[in-house]
């Protein structure tokens, strides 16, 4: 069996009296596409935050390729190969798209500390930024500020930022949220086209997108895993239908 890219042991996050994540355990194999689904408030985003280090879990363990990263800061986890996008678009609005990507490129390098040389002097950064923009369908927009492009384009930028930190495991928090059907299709094609040396964990509400991309699906409800299985198994499961549509 392939090495687990990610392993979560009994992870819990309690806010006051509310257990948003209530003892979740997960194993994700290297190269797998795993989709997390669940109704609003199931704890999906909180689980993501705890895995990537945005939040500290109350208890439990996070292992990245067998290494315990539970106590590491977010930037250290990024250096070890975690990359993420945010549910609520989180790009640098005042900076140009090329500058946005330059930050993602140097963020995991020592060059981020350089202060005696302009960013523009690094040809490789510029080339990489332009290539990356082209890959997510933003060619020709490099020198526009992020606040001047459309919402859908900012979602594309969001994905490009995460991809430029050289992630081994990529966490996508509703990459298609708020997009038009055409844009949604474009993003899901992009995700489907990612190389298999990147493991992908994705939260997605759109069942067509979710079940189309997933190798395996984990269903979360009230902070717990209620089912894990192939897309077909999840589609056929009565409990999932109950959670989503209520009892008949």
């Amino acid at each position: 069996m392939a090495e687990n890219a990610l392993r979560i042991n009994e992870l819990a996050k309690v806010f006051g009296g509310l257990a948003a994540v209530d003892g979740v355990s997960l194993k994700v194999a290297a190269g797998e596409r795993r989709v997390l689904i669940g109704p609003n408030g199931a704890g999906k985003t909180t689980l993501f935050h705890c895995i990537t280090g945005t939040l500290k879990p109350t208890s439990g363990q996070v292992l990245l390729f067998g290494r315990d990263v539970t106590r590491l800061a977010e930037y250290s986890r990024t250096a070890l190969g975690m990359g993420r996008t945010f549910q609520i678009t989180n790009v640098f609005a005042d900076l140009t798209l090329a500058e946005n990507l330059a930050l993602a490129i140097v963020g995991t390098e020592r060059r981020k500390w350089v202060l005696h040389r302009p960013v523009a002097a690094y040809d490789d950064v510029r080339r990489k930024a332009l290539a990356s923009l082209e890959r997510v369908g933003l060619e020709g927009r490099a020198d526009q500020p992020a606040k001047a492009v459309s919402y859908g384009e900012r979602r594309q930028l969001e994905l490009a930022l995460a991809l430029n930190t050289n992630p081994k495991v990529l966490f996508l928090d509703e990459p298609c949220a708020g997009l038009s059907p055409a844009e949604r299709q474009r993003i899901s094609q992009m995700i489907a086209g990612l190389p298999r040396d990147i493991t992908v964990l994705m939260i997605e509400h759109d069942m067509d997108v979710a079940l189309g991309l997933a190798d395996r699906v984990t269903v979360l409800h009230q902070g717990r895993v209620i089912l894990e299985g192939s897309p077909d198994e999840v589609r056929a499961n009565a409990e999932v239908r109950d959670v989503y549509f209520g009892h008949a």
Partner: protein, 314 residues
């Protein structure tokens, strides 16, 4: 566009070089102060305009550096070649300590820097056996490095001019560097920066120390111009005015803090000659800036340019 800029820069440089010959010593002195306080404002703006941190303790680095130079030169006869670097070093060491304030953000950062500023002012004011108390340290000579000695305020004007131009050029590279871009990234979204692999607190700490070093350099230039230093240099109003200059001129730019220094110092000199409550005028200017020109004079210039371009192209 670049050509207009080059012409503008050349004209400004020519005017700056000719100033001591065309204007009297009063104006030369005022413009020297404008350069020095503009540099202090630039150091404040390194944090304010790029990283989004509002520091109100920059008078501390300015004054500690000025006191160090004054005490070394006057009491111990240390030559400028050692005293000036020692001043920058002392201010920078203090910035290494005060930089711990970057563990906080927003209003807490402002409050903690105000507290730091008062500590330094208190020491300067109360530890009179060492600092000279209210009188401070007087009779600071003009700088002299080896055989090159400055003997007049006119000569010193050129020293400050060269220093400011070099700082401005260095600052320009810094602004565009990966490190400088990182600061703007933190200002825009710190959470995103962390997820991209930046240790944002370390980044801000480094910026704080750098900013403190620049303020310390301004302090060195100040003490050789002023010839004395007293606790006023370390006082809260100096920190506030430096931030005010950056905001009135335009944050996030190089020229802005210097324009702001010109406005603040110019107004103060002019208004105080006929109106006792000149501080009230400064307050009004500040309020007007925040309300109608939050990007300062540089922002106003940009708006005028945009309007002209629109008119030209119909």
């Amino acid at each position: 566009m670049d050509r207009t800029r080059a012409v503008f820069a050349a004209l400004a440089l020519a005017a700056a070089l000719a100033l001591p010959f065309t204007a009297g010593p009063f104006w030369t002195g005022l413009v020297t102060q404008m350069y020095i306080f503009g540099l202090l404002a630039l150091s404040v703006d390194l944090l304010l305009g790029h990283a989004g941190l509002f520091s109100l303790t920059h008078a501390s680095f300015f004054a500690v550096s000025a006191y160090t130079v004054a005490i070394l030169q006057v009491r111990y006869n240390v030559p400028t070649a050692l005293a000036a670097p020692a001043g920058i070093l002392a201010g920078t060491l203090l910035a290494l300590l005060f930089g711990l304030a970057v563990r906080t953000r927003g209003v807490y950062f402002i409050l903690i820097t105000i507290a730091f500023g008062y500590v330094v002012w208190g020491v300067a004011h109360r530890w009179s056996s060492f600092t000279g108390g209210d009188n401070g340290v007087t009779n600071v000579p003009f700088p002299a490095i080896g055989p090159v000695a400055i003997t007049s305020h006119t000569q010193y004007y050129y020293v400050v001019l060269v220093a400011v131009i070099l700082c401005g050029l260095g600052y320009r590279v810094f602004m565009r560097s990966p490190f400088g871009l990182g600061l703007r990234g933190i200002k825009a979204s710190e959470s995103r920066m962390q997820s991209l692999g930046f240790r944002t607190s370390a980044h801000l700490y480094a910026a704080f120390v750098l900013s403190g070093a620049l303020a310390s350099f301004a302090g060195v230039l100040y003490v050789y111009y002023n010839k004395f230093v007293n606790p006023v240099a370390a006082s809260f109003p100096v920190s506030v005015e430096a931030a005010l200059m950056a905001i009135v001129g335009g944050t996030g730019t190089i020229i802005g803090p210097f324009l702001g220094a010109a406005v603040v110092l110019g107004l103060r000199n002019w208004v105080s000659s006929f109106f006792e409550m000149h501080h009230a005028i400064m307050g009004a200017v500040f309020i007007a800036t925040v309300l109608w020109a939050p990007l300062g004079l540089v922002g106003i210039a940009g708006r005028i340019r945009a309007r002209l371009r629109k008119a030209r192209h119909g």
